[in-house]
Amino acid sequence: MARKLSLSLSKLGRPLRELLRYELGGPLVALMALITASSILSPRFLEPYNQRILLLQTAPLALLGLGESMVILMGSIDLSPGSTMALAGTISAMTFTRFGHPLSVSILVGVLVGLAIGLVNGLLVTKAKIPSFVATLASLVAGRGMVLVLTEGQPIVGLSQYRVITEEVAGLPTMVWLFIAFGVLNYFLLKRTSVGLVTYAIGGNEEAVRYSGVRVDAVKLFNFILAGGYYAVAGLMMNARLEVAYPWTGWGYELDAIASCVLGGITLSGGVGSPLGPVVGAYMLTLLTNILILLGVNPYFQWVVKGFILVAAAAALTRGVRYVK
């Protein structure tokens, strides 16, 4: 039995090594290991019902991770995802319930709010020349403040119509299709367009890109704006899933967004990583919470486990680097 196992493992070795040579190889191997371990630990893990919940929970985080990755790949950082998704969700919900606009308009307003916050972030970084960490920290704080002012700290109810996003189409909830679509879009944008090339180049060596006469600031601005749009979509997904817009939605999610990127193999110094990394990372992060709940572990424990996993992922990413700051 043991011999058989080691035999099949060595057979597996070669394709495994082959897989690891790809950008997304590491995260995929980690994902397979997690799925295998989880299905052994809990037979309920692979049940369609559980997987459906898992994917629904992954969707908003995946969107946050995708937006975050656009910024991190440039070597910047965005701390505003959590607040942006909350503000976009809140204003969209208010447009719908308080001002009685149709759902389509409300959704559009929500997306515009996200894009606007992205624009502000981008302008603060490119025009006011404030480091992205500080600029988006300001958005994180001010954004949450605006949500609390607008809602007076109370949840907005009556969002059942948002449910169209969670309804099933072709066997999967629309929301899941949405995040798959955005994943594909992100991959196309970063790997198949000139904007994507410049994004990676900025992360690789911004100075050289500037000397080349490339519109670096324009691309930065574009990426920050688009990232804001991604966060807004995540906010709308939360409205749909909960049918309530809570003022504390997305509290602390900026860290989950960054963690999704790191777990997905995107280095924080920029320029390296697959555009699909954050999707894989977000799934892994959600899976961890899920399996701990299935196993009946104290839910507070998930933060400790996430911390360890994050360290492991970061260590794998910086292998071979001599030192970091």
């Binding site: 690789g204 100075e207 050289a208 890109v209 000397y211 006469g213 390296v272």
Partner: protein
Amino acid sequence: MRYVSSELLATRGLVKEFPGVVALKGVDFDLRYSEIHALVGQNGAGKSTFVKVLAGVYSPTRGEIYFKGVRVSIRNVRDAKKLGITLVHQEATLAPNLTVAENIVLGTLGKNGGVLAPLKTSDILEIARKYLEIVGLSIDPRTKVGVLGIGEKQLVQVARALAEDASVVCLDEPTSPLTAVEAERLFEVMKELKARGKSMIFVTHRVEEVFAVADRVTVLRDGYKVFSSEVSKTDPSEVVKHMLGREIERFYPAKKGAEGGNAGVPRLKVVGLTTSQDGKGVILRDISLEVYPGEVLGVVGLLGSGKTELGKALIGMNKIVKGEVYLDGVRVRVRSPVEALKLGIFYVPEDRRREGLVGIMSIAENIILPKVWETSELGLIRVPRREVSVARKWIEFLKVVPPEPNFKVMYLSGGNQQKVVIAKALKARTKVLILDEPTFGVDVGAKVEIRKLIRSLADEGYSVLLLTSDVDEALALCDRIAVLVNGRVVGTYRTSEISRDFLVELLGGRGHGS
């Protein structure tokens, strides 16, 4: 394998392998007491790797190191320092935010009483003053290192090595960022240290420096030691011959450019250009020059003359406060590299790793980057096949090695990296090519190739502005030469009308040869 006891330091069969590359292939080397031993070779010959192994930055793959007759193992920088071997790095490795004194004592911390021993400011200053005096630096030890010039930083590094009580000081290309005057000063310090009984390994790729300061010379080529001799028993051409491994065909290409008259409208004309005071570096004052199609105009100036600032001002990276720029007779404003690119002005920076290339990307991606939309469908969607075929054309034209469009730029040699930056410029259909020290840090073979290339580009009709501190390079390549001293053009001459001596005199010192 026998070891001779008159030597301070010796290596036998030293091998250093990196993934995919063998940098040192069995080097035997001896360093005597109170000796300056020059280590020369082309780029990639293994000189830097060799001193880094001795200083514990890299650990050797195989081979033996003997120190004062005893076999030693140097696994890290601490081991090396315990033996008294210190490396003065190519780039100054000092903390710019600390004072000179603090930097000097940094390496000695923990020697007496551990890291927690109390630091008395007066003690630190006294130690620093002592060693600054030895290296002949008359600066206040309380000065922040960040405000020092590169030459002073080098000397502070030497002072630090002395404070650490080093008996072997390895200097890794210390002169490459220095002006002629600063280099002379360093040589004086080196001789002074020798008189005090220190031994030095002096890495350089400038052969004339070997004869100015060293007692012995060892030549490395492709990781092998190919030659070693007393300096008094050899001559520069023999050393260069061993560095190259073949006869130097011809260092400089033939000129057939517009030696005659420059008729017509100049491609680029600069009138009274003055840069703003607030920028870093040298302020340019009232610069006027013209570059015609098919011409190489040399702007010759030493380090700190403002030649890099001029190149950056012409692409809008340094702010111009006064003066006009004309392109083909039309007045233009260049406020950013974006506008410069549109007009066809491209600056190929001296520091190509930092300002010229994205190391983690491929040759092809770097070449197409400035005008990536041209190879893209609708200006947006990339077409990898098209990118690769465009890149292949330029790789072939410039003979980039390896000729692989998907090869990562960071793994290329200096000369090939330079070619990729030039390819970027040509691919972007540049009319005015500004080359800042294009043969700096490039091995001799590639130097010849790049010089030929510059000449042939001019012959094809490009206007080339060659910013250089190498007098011989300027004389050999340029049609006309503008001499830049302290941010001002002190004269523009037809190359055929001036002598090397005159040019050197104008520059106020010795010009660097190659």
